[in-house]
């Protein structure tokens, strides 16, 4: 589904440019799951932001479903983000003033505006159901536990049926048990054909992915299973 070859990201700081990603090769097929592990500051989030089209690589090639999207104008990138990607972050980033259902529906807004109300509601409820919190649809984030909030965030990522799910330390703010529930929800998506890239510090969570990659100073290497 995604195929990165020789992707390099250089940060042009005030003093001297710093290479944050150095010739990263990464390919994840549909239904596959990959864990990215590495020390803080090694560039994991930066890698996800390139994969998720928040940012473009300075060098290298990025294919999405066989299409070269290494250099994409922002307008088309926004469209692809909405049609192909789902994101989950360490902090849940739910909007306080919206209910769980409205937070999920937010991801249905794109350049074309909104889907019809009925279809919107059906998809929102389906996504909430997939992460097991359909009964909380009308609650606001303030009334939900961290794990519930994170699952709302996952539902928001899933509501558009993404081809690629990107998660940046989604369990970082949760206890182990709740974290496991969240990883369950993410893995469930791969069983429906979604590719998953998970950045995590948790060995157990990493071990549940199909593959593990280590990122050290911007260089990505696949860990050979022991």
């Amino acid at each position: 589904m995604i195929e990165l070859t020789g992707v390099t990201k250089v940060l042009k700081g005030q003093s001297e440019p710093r290479t944050i990603l150095d010739g990263v090769d990464l390919s994840v097929a549909a239904g596959q799951s990959v864990a990215i592990v590495g020390r803080s500051g090694s560039g994991k989030s930066t890698l996800l932001s390139v994969v998720g089209l928040f940012d473009r690589p300075d060098q290298g090639r990025y294919l999405l479903a066989g299409q070269d999207i290494s250099r994409l104008p922002e307008r088309r990138a926004a469209k692809l983000r909405s049609s192909h990607f789902g994101f989950v972050f360490q902090r849940f980033f739910l909007l306080k003033h919206l209910t769980a259902a409205q937070n999920v529906a937010m991801a249905l807004v794109n350049g074309q505006g909104w889907l019809p109300r009925r279809e919107r509601r059906a998809r929102v409820m389906q996504a909430l159901d997939q992460v097991g919190i359909a009964h909380l649809a009308k609650n606001r984030p303030a009334k939900m536990s961290g794990g519930e909030q994170q699952r709302v965030a996952i539902a928001r990522a899933l509501v558009r049926d993404p081809k690629v799910l990107l998660a940046d330390e989604p369990t970082g703010a949760l206890d182990t048990e709740t974290g496991t529930l969240v990883i369950d929800a993410l893995l469930a998506a791969t069983s429906r054909g979604c590719a998953l890239v998970l950045v995590t510090h948790d060995r157990d969570h990493a071990a549940r992915m199909g593959r593990i990659h280590d990122l050290v100073n911007g260089v990505l290497t696949e860990r050979v299973p022991a």
Binding site: K79, F93, L98, A107, G113, R160
Partner: protein, 424 residues
């Protein structure tokens, strides 16, 4: 188009969500903007009301816009030509002013020279050779009016306001006892002095016994009485209408496209009478009077509005600063920058419109209260409606303030990098 409306709708819906989530902030923005929009609404309302009042007064005094007016010296041959020209026409009315004294015979009127009641212009009569004669005889219960003989209904050109009684009826057979309509100033004289209904007119074959049928407001400050020319003619032959020593006026008012204008003007010139032709244009003349005033007031209102815009801008920027994560997140899930800017703009725009609605409502209510409390004592406030121009001005002010105050925050919001969501 569909795409646009979809975006427009989403911006409005999401903007409204944002407003509902931050009611206090929205309220603060509205408070800061309220005075500005209110100032614009009030200035526009005041200008419109003043303009209408001024226009109504000017129309009363000078005539409706577009009316053609021919003035000429009151010479006998001009009178004859004019009367012949307007005879039987509905689009032209001649008015001939002569002196009339109503009251006790043989006494001098209380307002010699036709002065406003209570003022004295002195009664000296001066002749073309420079010789002046002080009047003789006792002053008594008589009032001098400018008696204006009309060949038709002048109200098609000047909207006299009825005060009491009725206006002259031009459709009936002329009556032997001339019917008179007084203006307010003349009526004031009759109120203050007990004056018998006998009228002396220079050149009349006998004293007249007029019937007073009504009082109108004609917008002039000197006492006047209006009479049908044909009713006056019974007593005062046309040949005696003008008296070179007494002065007088001779005017023809015409509908804009009356065909007799050219004919009459040519004829008068041929006789050696120099007609002075003019088109009534109150609006244009008023414009000059009002322009500077309006400029000053609108500049002041604009300044207050600008302060309000600064308030919205301030709140808007603070809000965007607080909502960095929300906007970054929205971009992450695929909301295009333009829509994001649209959301912010929609919020300030809606805030501006709400403020406009509040300001318009407040000033409309205030106007109603003022009219209710002070109406009657100030004629300018009679029947005053809230002018629609003020509503439009308020809405425009609200939109302008919303766009101005939302523009910079919208750009900021659109420029927030998505990666913010990963670094937070």
């Amino acid at each position: 188009m569909k795409r646009f409306s979809g975006r427009f709708r989403s911006s409005l819906i999401i903007g409204l969500q944002g407003i509902r989530a931050r009611k206090l902030r929205t309220l603060l923005s509205m408070v800061s903007l309220f005075l500005g929009v209110l100032a614009v609404v009030v200035v526009q309302a005041g200008a419109s009301i003043a303009e209408r009042a001024l226009l109504a007064d000017n129309e009363l005094t000078w005539g409706y816009d577009g009316t053609r007016v021919i003035d000429m010296p009151p010479e006998q041959k001009a009178v004859d030509a004019v009367l012949a020209a307007v005879k039987g026409r509905s689009d032209a009315v001649a008015s001939i002013g002569v002196q009339g004294i109503i009251g006790e015979p043989g006494v001098r009127p209380v307002n010699e020279g036709g002065a406003p009641i209570g003022q004295s212009w002195g009664g000296a009569v001066c002749y073309p050779d420079g010789r002046c004669e002080e009047p003789t005889g006792p002053q008594g219960a008589a009032i001098e009016v400018r008696l204006t003989a009309l060949t038709g209904d002048i109200r098609q050109f000047r909207p006299f306001r009825p005060v009491s009684g009725s206006w002259l009826d031009f459709s009936t057979v002329p009556s032997m006892a001339p019917r008179l309509v007084l203006n307010k100033e003349a009526a004031k004289g009759f109120d203050q002095y007990d004056v018998p209904a006998e009228m002396r007119v220079n050149g009349a074959v006998a004293n007249l016994t007029p019937r007073f049928v009504g009082v109108v407001d004609d917008g002039t400050g000197e006492p006047r009485a209006y009479v049908r020319a044909d009713e006056l003619a019974t007593w005062l032959p046309n040949a005696n209408l003008v008296n070179p020593n007494m002065g007088g006026e001779l005017r023809v008012s015409l509908a804009p496209s009356s065909p007799i204008e050219q004919v009459l003007v040519a004829k008068l010139k041929g006789m050696g009478v120099e007609p002075y032709v003019d088109t009534i244009n109150n609006r244009e003349e008023q414009e000059d009077q009002l322009r500077l005033m309006r400029l000053i007031f609108f500049s002041m209102a604009g300044l207050v509005l600008l302060i309000g815009v600064a308030g919205i801008l301030n709140v808007g920027l603070a809000t965007v600063g607080e909502r960095v994560e929300e906007f970054a997140l929205r971009r992450a899930v695929g909301t295009p920058r333009s829509l994001l800017a649209g959301i912010v703009l929609a919020e300030t725009l809606l805030t501006g419109l709400f403020t406009a609605a509040a300001a318009i409502g407040a000033s409309a209510l205030a106007l109603k209260a003022v009219v209710l409390l002070a109406g009657g004592s100030h004629p300018i406030l009679d029947n005053v409606q809230f002018p629609w121009e003020a509503g439009v001005a308020g809405i425009i002010a609200g939109i302008v303030a919303g766009v101005l105050g939302g523009f910079v925050p919208a750009l900021r919001a659109a420029g927030i990098p998505i990666a913010t969501v990963m670094r937070a």
